[in-house]
Amino acid sequence: MDELPIQSGDDVVRVRQQVRIVAADCGLSLVDQTKLVTAASELARNTLVHGGGGRARVEVVKSGNGRSGVKIGFTDSGAGIPDLDLALTDGWSSGNGLGLGLSGARRLVDEFELASEPGAGTSVVVIKWSR
């Protein structure tokens, strides 16, 4: 298990690289690796830009039926998200982006869990299973 800080644009790149290594080791196909790394990039940027920085935890997990997968948890202690449903809507953006970061990342992974409270930070956990 690796825990990585997300405090700068450099760190976002390092998270992507680490996720790529773990996903390849775990036996994810090239397309699935690319999807997971792209989702990680979106979420790491959110942690940096909206959460004011935080950390990412990358680990290999096993499912009940023996498949392995890559689990990544992002946590920050930023302002939090007041309306989770709205934040997950395609095209909705709190800034000047396209509003595809969170909703797009959710489409690219197999499991997606978002928890946030205003003032108490945000945590996103995603899993991509090998096929």
Partner: protein, 117 residues
Amino acid sequence: MERVPIVKIGQTLFVSIQIDLEDDSVVRLQEDLADELTATGARGVIIDITAVEIVDSFIGRMLTMIGSISRLFDAETVIVGMRPAVAITLTELGLSLRGVRTALNAEKGLRLLNGTA
């Protein structure tokens, strides 16, 4: 932050992205390209992303913006060399790169710009 070099050949600016792009590098590339376009009067921009392993929503938006900015300087942008896994992921992410042209490789991109495709 690493910078992406821009090379002018004839009437075309060539950009080959060989680094793991951080957001600042893409923003910088956008500014550098706008400067180069005004300085050189180039009519086309070819961005080779053969070595780019992922294009997320930020990078995708920046590529689209580079296309729009180039057009304001009377230049066309062609993105070339996208990897299959990147194309699949971009589509699932919901990004269409509307407004920029694409070609399989730099040679075809150049032909597209020269109107001989």
